[in-house]
């Protein structure tokens, strides 16, 4: 055998090893997360129950119904629109596993873009999983995903994405769930997921719908509530109440010209009151330093501390970071405030629940303490 042939065979074997080693990790990311139905979960459904075209697709995510059996309103909470914004999924999980609903009902979709959880964004070096120790000493694991739909489910991207309103966006935004509303039953994979979620809101007549997000600390809309104009009064009162709890929020009205987002299209294409909320997540920012699971969970990052000193951020940032407990706590407390104020403004559509930890309880007890133990 010639020397060149020997080298070629060696390189082929090496390449096969790399392919198998990397492939096993990538395939592992497809496995579903464990979410345990809590005391008020009466049933689950799939997105394809509302839009049958999605049946059998990876994106056919689970919908959890927390029903009291007592007449009242309907609140929908959406997590995982962007799977690289973990407090959205984790807040939805605590609602599912802890909420006790005594009037009306809550519908929770914890992993809105399930496809996005099945991969990570290239060049973002994200951790694949995040881990929590539960009260009983067990460990619960959740996936940290990508901002967008997995290219194995929707490919190729166009050079530019022209949305349903004729606006041009970067080509990769064609896989961004929060740019594809109100969805299109004949559109691309992501637009079809959007359409399915719109159908949930319409068919279940959701009175209040909340989309949970996170933003990088250098982004201006952060620790914020963005409300459709029909929801702005409700959001205003909630922001004042949150200030009474020492939780500062900025309030933004959904810009009419920025189309395809939940806070705009949910309100325009259904009767629901549409709200989007943001917390501060260093692990998706461009200024962050070392990227690992600790950064996701603690938000501690020396680069962001420096950026805060330079006045480049829109949230205070110090050595304590912004831990996941703070971010989930903000989402859950703000959700509670919104629901309570909806009950006050429209008592006939009240939704009453308890059992979900608030900001201060989470900061004291830790996130894992409120997760149900896995069997």
């Amino acid at each position: 055998m010639k020397k060149n042939e020997k080298i070629a065979i060696f390189l082929l074997i090496f390449a096969a090893f790399v392919i198998v080693a990397a492939g096993l990790e990538f395939v592992d990311q497809w496995k579903p997360d464990l979410i345990i139905p809590g005391p008020s979960v009466t049933r689950t459904a799939r997105l394809s129950d509302y839009f049958p075209k999605l049946k059998g697709e990876y994106c056919d995510t689970t919908i959890y119904f927390l029903e009291s059996g007592e007449p009242g309103g309907t609140v929908m909470v959406l997590g995982g629109t962007h799977p690289n914004e973990p407090s959205s999924l984790l807040s939805a999980v605590l609602l599912i596993e802890n909420a006790v609903v005594t009037q009306g009902r809550i519908i929770v979709i914890p992993q809105a873009n399930l496809s996005g959880f099945s991969h990570n964004d290239p060049q973002e070096a994200s951790p694949r999983k995040i881990h929590f120790e539960t009260a009983g000493g067990g460990v619960r694991v959740f996936r940290y995903g990508s901002r967008a739909t997995n290219p194995i489910h929707q490919w190729p991207d166009p050079d530019i994405y022209i949305n349903q309103f004729g606006q041009s966006l970067s080509g990769s935004e064609t896989r961004n769930l929060n740019r594809g509303y109100p969805g299109d039953p004949e559109g691309n994979y992501t637009e079809q997921i959007c359409y399915g979620i719109m159908e949930v809101i319409r068919q279940e007549a959701s009175d209040l719908s909340i989309d949970l997000h996170e933003a990088s600390p250098e982004y201006p809309v952060i620790n914020a509530i963005v409300a459709h104009e029909r929801a702005i009064d409700l959001a205003s009162i909630a922001v004042l109440d949150l200030q009474m709890e020492d939780l500062d929020y900025s309030l933004e009205i959904s810009p009419p010209s920025f189309r395809g987002l939940t806070h705009r299209e949910w309100g325009d294409y259904s009767d629901t009151l549409a709200i989007l909320m943001e917390t501060a997540n260093a692990s998706q920012g461009r200024i962050r330093g070392k990227t690992d699971e600790a950064l996701v969970l603690t938000g501690k990052d020396k680069m962001y501390v420096k950026a805060a000193e330079l006045g480049r951020l829109y949230v205070p940032y110090d050595e304590n970071g912004h831990p996941i407990e703070e971010r989930v706590g903000r989402h859950l407390t703000a959700t509670k405030m919104l629901v309570e104020n909806m009950n006050m403004l429209w008592p006939e559509q009240a939704v009453v629940y308890h059992g979900v930890p608030d900001y201060y309880e989470l900061m004291e007890q830790g996130y894992g303490n409120y997760l149900l133990p896995s069997l």
Binding site: A22, A125, W155, D159, S168, P220, R286, R312
Partner: protein
């Protein structure tokens, strides 16, 4: 600001330099080795998943380049390129300045439609470069004219991917960019092409060269000769302006379909053989892109990326614009689109007091300059390749001054963003 991340960066760059210059390894391999070194020194071991994931960022770009190279060979071999060269020279030899500016705009066009300088060089650049060479321009200057026009094409409206990336990062709709981008690019397209070809703008002696002109195959094949380009333009324009007509197939498929059409359009050639030739020629660049992908992923993993960003943002106000003008094109050494995302977005956020549309437009022009920055330097490498110049640094040498002028022009527009917004928006 001294930091452990600086050490990681120095190690990565040092290992890259040693692999490249001491051991003469291909750039792509050198980048992969330097990425692995960064992981080791930062205590991450050899994270195969991160290395592969980073490289995969350029999968689409790699497919575009490979198929565009096949397309380029097809229009060379089918006789279309020779025919166009002969026609343009016979028609416009008496107006060389007009011809050169016109040829530059032909190169700009595919960039305007795709937002990619590579696409511009490998499509229109292939067609116009023989004309420039026949007009007497040395091949290095020909390649520089093509590379600069392609870079301006990447920034010119209607499709500017860098602006879309930066705009996406600050939630700025892609509205109102056309005029600012025209102001940013059009004067520079004209000035740069005339500047680079200034010594060759005399009316050349047509009688002397007419016997050496390539053959025209128009009489043999008629309009059929242009079918590959017509098909490609139809696909590109359809995607840009009628996106709902049928699903996106992607640029690689468009290039490949156009190339296949080329088999039946003119002179006979062995499609399989020229495809192998094309991919073989493209392999070093494809390797560089994979190495760059690993390099950036490791920079992010280890915190080096954040270190670079925060140091750019730490510049005092009077140096901020200088920092922008230098850092964004320099980061293009790893990727122009990457530079738009990694540096363009934080800078756009830092300059929110200025009109964001004008600011983002100017930042996108600076990011496009990154395609001239080695070792990737996609515009420079491919422009050199289409004129048969092996050392692309000889091409980049002629791009330095136009690139500096472009950077200055972009910064001036950024400084006067608010005043310009009143006129342009």
């Amino acid at each position: 600001m001294l930091s452990i991340e600086l050490l990681y960066f120095v190690v990565m760059v040092g290992i890259f330099a040693v692999c490249c210059f001491k051991f003469k390894l291909p750039v792509g391999i050198a980048m992969a080795i330097s990425a692995i070194s960064g992981c080791l020194v930062a205590g991450f071991g050899v994270p195969i998943r991160h290395l592969i994931e980073g490289a995969f960022n350029y999968l689409n770009t790699i497919l575009v380049i490979a198929t565009a190279m096949i397309f380029m060979k097809v229009v060379q071999y089918n006789g279309m390129m020779d025919t166009i060269t002969r026609w343009l020279i016979e028609k416009y030899y008496s107006k060389p300045a007009l011809l050169i500016v016109g040829l530059s705009f032909i190169v700009v066009f595919p960039g305007m439609i795709t937002g990619s300088s590579t696409a511009a060089v490998l499509t229109a650049g292939v067609l116009v470069s023989p004309v420039l060479i026949y007009m007497g321009l040395p091949k290095e200057i020909t390649a520089a004219v093509v590379a600069m026009a392609a870079v301006f094409g990447e920034a010119a409206p209607p499709v500017n991917v860098n602006a879309l990336i930066i705009g996406g990062g600050i939630d700025l709709p892609y509205i109102g960019f056309t005029l600012p981008l025209l102001v940013l690019t059009v004067p520079l397209i004209i000035a740069t092409s005339l500047f680079l070809s200034r010594k060759y703008l005399k009316v050349f002696n047509f009688e002397k060269i007419k016997d050496n002109l390539p053959d025209s195959y128009l009489a043999d094949f008629g309009i059929r000769l242009f079918l590959p380009t017509i098909v490609l333009v139809v696909f590109m324009v359809r995607e840009a302006f009628l996106p709902k007509l049928f699903p996106t197939l992607g640029m690689p498929v468009y290039f490949l379909l156009a190339a296949i059409v080329g088999i039946f359009s003119g002179k006979k050639f062995n499609f399989l053989k020229i495809s192998q030739e094309a991919v073989h020629d493209a392999l070093p660049v494809l390797g560089i892109l994979m190495g760059v992908g690993m390099f950036i992923q490791v920079m992010t993993l280890t915190g080096v990326r954040g270190y670079i960003v925060i140091n750019c943002l730490s510049l005092p106000p009077y140096l901020l614009y200088l920092g922008i003008a230098l850092s964004i094109p320099l980061f293009g050494a790893v990727s122009a689109y990457g530079s738009a995302s990694v540096l363009g977005v934080p800078f756009a956020l830092a300059l929110l007091e200025s009109n964001p549309v004008i600011t983002v437009a100017a930042l996108s022009q600076l990011a496009a300059l990154g395609d001239l920055m080695p070792p990737t330097a996609l515009a420079g490498i491919f422009a050199a390749q289409i004129v048969g110049e092996k050392n692309y640094f000889k091409v980049l040498k002629y791009c330095v001054l136009p690139a500096i002028v472009t950077a200055v022009w972009s910064i001036v527009i950024m400084i006067f963003a608010n005043a310009l917004a009143k006129i342009l928006l």
